[in-house]
Symmetry: C2
Subunit: 464 residues, 2 copies
């Protein structure tokens, strides 16, 4: 009888929508922050628990290699000449493998732009027909040591930055960032897009290449560490990284570029694009994570990447195998005239920054990003703090001032993700779902559960 | 009898040293965070309370003018040509008025450096004799529309930045920052100091002046607002401000400087000195605060400045009158080989940044500064939050990300300071007390009580 006499207090577990009726009736209630594990196969958790010591050792080894990486910008070159396995009929793209038939709108737009830029097609229609003809091959950037934001398109003539992990000797590659507005990586392919790509190849690239040869190298690791002290998380906010890169390279551009007007235009272009550093922070992350690949029994995530259709994950202990699932649509601040209905699902290799403990994992360093989707500085801190629950360690180089310079959560452990149901937090740009339009917003999202559930289950099953 | 039976709990008010005996005896106690008012003349508080509405209106008017200021860098010139009232035999210095006899070591060193740079003396000994001869006149920078960090020396041949408050038409002036190490502003006067000053006049100045003429103006207000989002408080940390200024001016330097090597050297110099922006943030603050001067009945502080002997304050409602007291020695991180015993008392016009809601008032934006004197990010937030208790309002332009973009506490009200005993929090560089040595550390301090007590008492007494 006591139950019916006492005041009702309800603890709601699971779907928050169940609280609405209680709220409407004025019944006191609390929402338990409970998430179910990603995998229902409890025997697999037992398998990993039994081998926990061995997995922990393997993860430590992989994480130590990732943290010990010393990525530096060591030069530039044309993709065909420097990217391993590059060919004239090959187009690299973001995320896991995808066919032309299954490609999303902005990635198709990016491919069409690349074919016109390469002189292989004259019109968008011609480019689309060639793209679908079977004459053009497609492969993930990640399978050629490269990374690309949004559509992530790399074609043979594009200039790329060459980043070397000076601790382990491996290389990574990324194109020059085009800026905002109508750009290839968001799926635009108008004349201004192609003209800008030509200028970037014929004018910007030679200026930067000569400057880099003059300097020898630029230490990207120190630059990212500083950028985190300056309000960047080097994914969606790169103003500080761009500023520091600019300061480092400008005097060398002046000294090596014979034409002052050309030098000034190159610097104006970088100054006009606060995302210029993004491609470098991605290549730095790629070079660091590649150093942690192929450690037997390691459950650490070394790739998170999206092709606009699927979200793909790779683990250190499972080689080049992709684990995929549908890519979600981000919560975002949309540009005037656009809404979530216009948005393409999450796209781009840029989640390599989160995989490396940056981006959404370091968002406490850049609360401005959370603010524009209605969050507060404490929300930003909360997102970063939650990521310590699914990572194997903390960066000894990348630190967050507002968390008393605590190292960023680094080395996503797929076992922790599967056990806790806490998914990696990512911030990102948003492309229009149709080819030819471009960016429509920027926002945040949690990674989808399926790729992590699949990766965990495969990893656990194949443990010896 | 109950008192002697119950457990003893002590509340200690005032001197914390009284707690030591209690702590030693294991007696539980708490320290009340109580500060006595700065002035013992309670009748003066009654005088201001009686006229509170009028004072509040006056303070609002002054603060509105300060916040509405739009300081922009509009050009450069030689001090003799552009600083009002400048003469060949006049040397401007930081802080309130001071004679050669009473000048501290680093300010004497700065004066000696300036006389050698001007060609008026050949050796330090000759310079010291001339400085003391009565042939050289001294005046505060602040009385000539100028501001200078540390010794704050401005002599006739020095190039200065010209900052204009485009909302109200007033101007301010500051020299180019020399960098760290052996520099005039810290009292050094060796050959390298003089040679650098010559290079800054003959090479750096023409390059920057032409670039500024090409650009027309640089909006400093937006730059400072951005720098606060990038980990600067633009007093002791100016890496972001320097980066943003560099990005703005570099392409113009290239376009206007005929010799690429000279252009590169000018940019290298700025790139090598993360404090380059300090003098600009000071001139911006000076131009903003001067707009709030001479508002009848306003108790707002429009100047805090130190000459290394005394700390001086000016109020909006009391014109050019200085209120002074002894300058304290800062708590600091000292460079290897130095200690607080080597430190000169607080020196420089740079507290104009705090007066403008920046520097120590915005230190929550730059926790790195507190960290190096042993504090945490929450200490940094605490210092900023305490300043809201003594200010008349909040900036609508300068905002702190980690406080959810709250505007910085702006417009120090001397009545609030006197009533609460909470003193302005300042971060600063530390000079060696002897001439010729230079910087020995960097740290933080609270302003001394005497200048504020005197300013309050004079203000209250002269209220009609």
């Amino acid at each position: 009888m006591k139950l019916f006499e006492s005041e009702l207090k309800v603890v709601n577990i699971g779907l928050e929508s169940f609280r609405q009726g209680l709220n409407d009736s004025g019944v006191k209630n609390v929402q338990a922050q409970f998430k179910p594990p990603l995998s229902a196969e409890t025997s697999l958790f037992a398998r990993t628990a039994k081998r926990a010591a061995r997995i922990t050792r393997a993860n430590k080894k992989a994480l130590d290699r990732i943290l010990a990486a010393r990525p530096a910008l060591v030069g530039m070159g044309i993709a065909l000449d420097v990217v391993p396995g590059m060919r004239k009929d090959l187009i690299l793209h973001a995320g896991p493998p995808v066919s032309w038939e299954k490609m999303c709108g902005p990635m198709r737009g990016g491919v069409m732009a690349a074919l016109m830029y390469e002189g292989m097609a004259k019109t968008p229609g011609e480019a689309a027909r060639l793209a679908a003809s079977g004459k053009i091959k497609y492969a993930p950037c990640h399978e050629h040591g490269a990374v690309g934001p949004m559509a992530g398109i790399v074609s043979a003539s594009m200039p790329v930055f060459i980043v070397k992990d000076e601790a382990h000797g491996n290389y990574s590659y990324a194109t020059q960032n085009e800026g905002l507005g109508k750009v290839l990586r968001y799926g635009a392919y108008s004349t201004e897009v192609i003209e800008r790509l030509n200028w970037m190849e014929k004018e910007l690239y030679p200026a930067l290449k000569s400057a880099l040869e003059f300097l020898g190298r630029i230490d990207l690791k120190t630059m990212v560490a500083q950028a985190l002290h300056m309000g960047d998380e080097v994914h969606n906010r790169n103003r500080a990284g761009t500023s520091l890169f600019y300061r480092a390279i400008a005097p060398a551009v002046i000294r090596t570029c014979k034409d002052p007007e050309r030098a000034a235009k190159a610097l104006d272009f970088i100054n006009g694009n606060d995302h210029f550093f993004l491609n470098l922070s991605m290549a730095l992350s790629k070079a660091s994570l590649d150093a942690g690949r192929n450690v037997k029994d390691s459950s650490l995530v070394v790739v998170m990447a999206r092709n606009g259709t699927e979200f793909g994950v790779q683990l250190s202990g499972t080689g080049g195998r992709w684990f995929t699932g549908p890519a979600p649509v981000p919560d975002a601040l949309y540009f005037p005239g656009y809404s979530k209905a216009d948005a393409n699902p999450d796209i781009g290799d840029s989640a390599i920054t989160e995989t490396n403990g940056l981006g959404g994992f370091a968002i406490a360093a850049a609360p401005a990003i959370v603010q524009f989707v209605g969050g507060s500085a404490s929300d930003a801190a909360g997102y970063t703090l939650a990521m310590y629950g699914i990572t194997a360690g903390e960066s000894d180089s990348y630190k967050i001032p507002s968390l008393d310079f605590r190292g960023t959560p680094t080395g996503i452990d797929v076992i922790k993700v599967a056990k806790t149901g806490v998914l990696p937090f990512i911030d990102t740009g948003v492309a229009h779902k149709d080819p030819g339009v471009g960016q429509v917003g920027a926002g945040v999202l949690s990674a989808p559960p399926e790729p992590f559930a699949r990766a965990f289950e495969h990893f656990a099953r194949s443990l010896k």
